[in-house]
């Protein structure tokens, strides 16, 4: 295996959780999951020679993954619609497992860009990094993030 490919495979192995996470937040069927995994690897491999190391590999891979997922032609009805959230018993979340499941459902109900922003925030990225990954301005990111967090908390508390 050539050196470049070996280095790439090693980095992917260390960060594959990012790819799984991105896919799970945007896709809801196994066929799409497999296709998207393949597509993210392809896009990352294609862009890797130009990865200059200015950001961490994980940040870079996040960006590739999210950009790929947003532009990939997925099969329809993949996102849990807002109107179905109530029937999924968010309000009955009692244990921490229930809470995480409720959070998952609530995040999946957000618009795609909002989902990207809150995911990055919850993963510990600073607003500046989120702005860099999403292509939004830092101010716009902060405003959006505030609004998304409010909406999420309200949703999780209210029902």
């Amino acid at each position: 295996m050539p050196i470049l490919e070996r280095a790439f495979t090693e980095l992917i192995n260390q960060n594959r959780g990012i790819i799984y996470k991105v896919i799970r937040l945007y896709v809801a069927n196994e066929e799409d999951e497999r296709d998207l995994f393949q597509e993210i690897l392809f896009q990352a491999w294609k862009s890797y020679p130009r990865f200059d190391g200015r950001s961490k590999f994980s940040t870079w891979l996040y960006r590739v993954g999210l950009n790929t997922v947003l532009t990939f032609k997925r099969r329809p009805v993949l996102v849990v619609p807002h109107e179905n959230l109530a029937s999924l018993n968010i309000s009955q979340a009692k244990t921490s497992t229930d809470e995480s499941e409720a959070l998952y459902i609530a995040i999946r109900g957000l618009p795609e860009i909002d989902r990207m922003i809150i995911t990055l925030h919850l993963d510990g990225y600073e607003n500046e990094e989120i702005a860099d990954i999403t292509g939004l301005t830092k101010n716009n990111t902060a405003v959006k993030l505030h609004r998304i967090k409010d909406a999420l908390i309200k949703k999780l508390k209210a029902e």
């Binding site: 490919e5 495979t9 992917i12 594959r16 959780g17 799984y20 996470k21 896919i23 799970r24 937040l25 196994e30 999951e33 497999r34 296709d35 995994f37 393949q38 597509e39 690897l41 392809f42 896009q43 990352a44 491999w45 294609k46 862009s47 130009r50 990865f51 870079w60 960006r63 590739v64 950009n67 790929t68 947003l70 532009t71 990939f72 032609k73 979340a93 921490s96 497992t97 809470e99 995480s100 499941e101 409720a102 959070l103 998952y104 618009p111 795609e112 860009i113 909002d114 919850l122 993963d123 292509g135 939004l136 716009n140 967090k149 999420l152 908390i153 999780l156 508390k157």
Partner: protein, 199 residues
């Protein structure tokens, strides 16, 4: 509820779990831009094929006027090659998933549209030329072209041929363009609109 704590649980329980049956191959893509690039590569393949065909005809056809016509067609196809190659190259260098997505898609969309529009416009000048070359080639199979062109009726037939073939060729080219690039460009436009509306 503490969002960060719930998120950590969610990561352990669901998000970080491996995807069953996924293959780790780095050379296969179903992305619309990748398909757009494939369409341009196919177009370039056709251009090379026709270029070779015109070169062959320029060599084997005995009448000088036909040779000139074939060389002219070769020049026209060089123009198509350069335009398509330039567009493909632009997509190749711009299409990076680690860059600003909105800018990347918009740039590819605009450049491709511009290139196709330019080719459509230039085709209106090229089709009459192509029709003339085809006419001369057809004539040359059985008769001496220069001699036939002395006759006024030949010029009238040529004018009618151009008048009929130019709009038909243009219409067919638009249909082929829609089939080759249209749906991918539509997908691209949809994505750009979606990104802009959410941003």
């Amino acid at each position: 509820m503490d969002l960060k704590e719930a998120w950590k649980k969610l990561e352990q329980k669901k998000l970080n779990q491996p995807i069953v049956g996924s293959e780790e191959v780095y050379n296969s893509s179903k992305h619309p831009i990748q398909k757009l690039m494939r369409s341009f590569k196919i177009a370039l393949g056709f251009v090379v094929f026709f270029e070779a065909a015109f070169a062959y005809l320029a060599i084997v056809m005995p009448q000088p006027i036909v040779k000139i016509a074939m060389v002219l067609m070769m020049v026209v196809y060089i123009f198509y090659f350069v335009t398509n190659y330039h567009t493909l190259n632009h997509i190749k260098t711009t299409f990076r998933m680690d860059q600003n997505l909105s800018y990347t898609l918009q740039s590819i969309y605009d450049n491709t549209q511009q290139s196709l529009k330019f080719q459509r416009k230039s085709a209106l000048f090229i089709y009459p030329l192509a029709a003339t070359c085809g006419f001369l080639l057809g004539l040359s199979i059985e008769r001496d072209v220069i001699e036939v062109l002395q006759n006024r009726s030949s010029w009238i037939i040529l004018a009618i041929t151009i008048a009929v073939l130019t709009p038909i060729s243009y219409y067919i080219a638009i249909l082929l363009e829609r089939a080759g690039y249209g749906r991918y460009l539509d997908q691209l436009r949809g994505l750009i609109q979606q990104l802009n509306s959410q941003a």
